[in-house]
Amino acid sequence: MPVGILTYVLKRLLLIIPTFLGVTLLTFVISHVVVANPVLAWAGEKSSPQTIAAIAAQYHLHDPLYLQYYYYMLGLFQGNWGISATTHLPVLSQVSNFFPATVELSVTALIISVLIGIPMGVLSALWNGRKLDIPIRALYSSGIASPPFLLALLFQLIFAYYFNLLPSAGRLDPAFPIPAHITGMYTVDSLLEGNWVVFVDAVRHLILPAITLAFLTFAIITRITRASMLETMDKDFVRTAKAKGLPSRTVTYKYVLRNALTSTVTVIGFAVQLLLSGAIVVETVFFWPGIGLYTTTATLSLDFPSIMAVTVVFTLVVVFTNLLTDLAYGALDPRVTYD
């Protein structure tokens, strides 16, 4: 069996290569063919003629397209992802500086949405069509239909401005020193340092953006859990379990939930996609300095090297999450074979 898993993992890793090539080909086409003026896009709109000439030479923008693609790929692999057109810093180092903040935010949001979403989905299915089911369905339907900025602005207004309960923006009060860079996640780093005051402040800053972001994904997790609970409840083995007199608690949790959760796991890959997209808006509203805020600033100033770098990074995260969810799916469901 372990050998089977290993070959499966290897196969899936190999399959990432064509996806990666396709994805980078597409980002290349966007950044070298779709843009009206690639040289201006890479140099920045307000650059001097000298800078423009230097950038054109540096990125080989006057070469034939196939050569440009070769240099583009070479740059990607060598870690030379371009220089930001606004900050004039290497894009890759900027992205890796901002990345931990987004990981901190989206992992927290994912944990919240799973912890709330699965029990809600179970309750909603158990009460199918009655009492509790109705408010839960209303809640997740509104989560799905909410423009992400609406919720973010609303939470910011209520909890930060009106009631003054939580900070409205940033990751840490400027009065506190930034914890030493270990993981880049302030909550984790301050704990490792043993600095409780900073930890509490970092958590207070994290709450509002994380809850806003979680609301977007909690909706789909609840919906899928509810649907697959209802589907599993109709299965023959559940009827058999009930018929042989097992207590309904055992049937619900051991028989139904365990089987229903496999579908919930598959949707988590999609949830990560939603989290990343949502992070762009949520980080902007709460001025959370992660990749999302970086994307917005880059977009507003049409800083093209940064936009392309973010696109590649986001896509890689999604591709690897999908791989992980597929593996988890196999581990949870013994019927899934690796071949």
Partner: protein, 297 residues
């Protein structure tokens, strides 16, 4: 030929049955008529506005320093913005832009998706590999991020947002159409058409498409709400329609600097977006119930 009248009679009765089931489904949930009403109002209003833009007495170049950032009142149901303009009219002026973007995107995605999906599903082999390979690459991207990259490459503007979103949106439709085609392809009447020597293109156009398109249209209708939300985010990022005539996402973006003192500026256009999007979701549920074979037993 003799069967003709009987057949048409049968069709009218099928239609009547459909109408009866539809009414039954609508009555089942209070949210369905609500959703239908909002969606119809949204579409009809936008269509009228497209032909007679003068029904809204809104001048984007108008400013009035005396009515800056007024809270909602009888005269200004949504309050006013930072230049003293009536936000209610500004929102009414923006809604048709959102309608235009979302309808165009869904229509483009539907056409591209049904054509490519039907080809992939029907022909199989190398054509299938090629089409689905490209589809998978597009699906590997987080939609919003790819749309942002495209919209940024094309430059801000309503038309460019439509192109950027359509580029991101068609692959889901290709997937769906391919799946539907694979089922339809095995039906007796397709086999009969093939046996009688019809060409592949003819079979796709006259036998497969009509059967694939019904469930696809149901999906597309509900999907308009998703596109409205996504295009609102692009508008919010400054990539959508540019002043003077702006979409709702852009109004939210313009208003967020005043969120503390004039929350209505950003929040009310956001609530309008929410109501439209959730109404499309209700209509989607309605259509799903309506097309559910269990309803026809």
């Amino acid at each position: 030929m003799i069967d003709q009248p009987e057949q048409s009679q049968e069709q009218t009765s099928v239609f009547r049955e459909d109408v009866r089931i539809f009414k039954d489904v609508v009555r089942r949930n209070i949210l369905y008529p609500f959703g239908l009403f909002v969606v119809a109002a949204f579409l009809i209003y936008s269509a009228i506005f497209a032909v007679f833009p003068s029904i809204i007495n809104y001048d984007p170049s108008y400013t009035n320093l005396l009515t800056i950032l007024q809270p909602p009142s009888v005269a200004f149901p949504f309050g006013t913005d930072d230049l003293g303009r009536n936000l209610f009219l500004k929102v009414l002026n923006g809604i048709p832009i959102d309608a235009g973007i979302s309808l165009s995107v869904v229509l483009l995605a539907l056409v591209i998706g049904v054509l490519s999906g039907a080809m992939a599903g029907y022909f199989g082999g190398a054509i299938h590999q090629a089409i689905m390979g490209v589809t998978d690459i597009f699906l590997a991207f987080p939609g919003l991020v790819l749309a942002v990259a495209f919209a940024a490459a094309l430059g801000p503007g309503t038309l460019n947002v439509i192109v950027a979103l359509a580029v991101v949106w068609w692959p889901i439709y290709t997937r769906l159409a391919r799946g539907e085609t694979l089922t339809v392809k095995e039906q007796q009447y397709v086999l009969a058409a093939r046996a009688s020597g019809s060409s592949g293109v003819r079979i796709i156009l006259s036998h497969i498409m009509p059967n694939v398109i019904t469930p696809m249209i149901a999906y597309a209708t509900a999907d308009i709400g998703n596109v409205i939300l996504l295009s609102a985010v692009l508008g919010y990022l400054g990539l959508g329609s540019q002043p003077p005539n702006v979409d709702l996402g852009r109004i939210v973006y313009d208003g967020q600097n005043y969120i503390r003192f004039a929350p209505w500026y950003s929040l009310l256009p956001g609530v309008v977006l929410f109501i439209i999007a959730i109404s499309f979701a209700f209509v989607g549920d309605l259509l799903r119930d309506f097309l559910d074979p269990k309803m026809r037993v």
